[in-house]
Amino acid sequence: MTLFERSSTELQEGLHNGELTITQLTQEAFDRIEKLDGDVQAFLALNKEKALAEAAEMDKVPTENRGPLFGLPIGVKDNIVTEGLETTCASKILEGFMPIYDATVVKKLRDAGMVTVGKLNMDEFAMGSSNENSAFKATKNPWNLNHVPGGSSGASAAAVAAGEVPFSLGSDTGGSIRQPAAYCGVVGMKPTYGRVSRFGLVAFASSLDQIGPLTRNVRDNALLLEAIAGVDEHDSTSADVPVPNYASALNGDIKGLKIALPKEFLGEGVGEAAKQSVLDAIEVLKGLGATVEEVSLPHSKYALAAYYILSSSEASSNLSRFDGIRYGYRAEGAKNLMELYKQTRAEGFGDEVKRRIMLGTYSLSAGTYDAYYKKAQQVRTLIKQDYDNVFENYDVIIGPTAPTPAFAIGENVDDPMTMYANDILTIPMNLAGVPAISIPCGFENGLPLGLQLIGKHFDEETLYRVAYAYEQKTDFAKQTPALWEGK
């Protein structure tokens, strides 16, 4: 067993009473990675030397000067830049890229005293739902190594589920934190758009991307979001809205809370086990004094199509910066500048990234702009209105995070449309900009299922309150994969 079975509160107790040191905790992360990552394949780069040196320094800081996350190890998704630590977005086009500054969230982790142990694999440029689109390795699901961990923050979820680190950061453009959190049985929060600075997050779809925390329990998640949230002068889309003390909302009291269950979330394509786990969760929440009523989000079925057009359009623009000139991969032997661009990008990007760049370029082209891009933006308005309407009368929306548990590696790789369908339950929240959390709520054939709670803009606090109350009444989050045994 590992020290990371413990919550951050328990780890802090160990540090305060002298049972543990920060150096020990940091070493534990690298030992776990050594033991398990041959199977799980979560990490792309390790920060061992620097992390251990930092830990030794931090052990000297008096305990009264430490916050709740001080000295705790964390893994960071590889699309978040870390000064002096290779950052690739799991793409050949950024292989060897050494960032020259820290993302705002990385700076905030440092301010909170967290120790960054390494960079986590992902689908290339966060485009994918399985981590099979990484140019470097396919991360495995710790619950069953023949299954995917989800994506695109698959390794962020897998590393936490495997107990390699107790915390990680991911990013979520259409479900990329929540779907892997569900597949790997951990807690994952996509905050409100603008809640967390995107400065230093390599952009995929700028109007949808958000960084968020993945952890083994709700309290740790709340602590980590509080540490990374807030307005940032380097990101003009970050919101100047006060960040509450989320942990203080965790009192288990949800009496009188009004929960909406959209009938579309339990409809066609959603597996029986996923449905049943949500219905069971609803009974738990009712038992705690919440009321649950069925509602409709009538435009839900259009979210997937609107999302692929909008996110790909934004990506086609954002990824134009990868041209082989100032950083990253550069093709050899190009005769002129145009050939250099074309060869570099053809050799540097994987197929899924190329597909989306082309779909986006096509959607934005003269002649198709109105029919695709503008139409999708109008549909986005309708989807957002669906959520505004429901939130006039309810505090929280509930549903499954994904239609099924994690699928087998290789099962969906040849068919982009089937792969995209894994995200039908997570995409609308990015289009509407609302916060949503996934928490463990059951198992099917030994693979975890996720419960999704969706909140009003900037009301992550209520989501944490409900998630915590549910977590206290159930034991899904306490279970660990079989690969923990004897390791």
Partner: protein
Amino acid sequence: MAKLSTEEVKHVAHLARLAITDAEAEKFAEQLGKITDFAEQLNELDTTNVEPTSHVFPIVNVMREDVAGEGLDREKMMLNVKEQEAGQVKVPSILE
């Protein structure tokens, strides 16, 4: 909005600055065709007079004081440049 032809795919690839082989153009034409077919369902919705949403919050022109701040260090910026000469980025010829 019919299926994409391989010629259209090659044109889009050129706009996106992606070199593409004939075989790839055929493969992408089929895959992109499936995605655009799927996107046709958006036409079931009447969006007359619906304002497009490019961004969920109505943020416009976030300004700061016009005061010079510290920029990135030039030498650091050159660290990731593959080919350089005299502190400048080197590229192949632009004019034939």
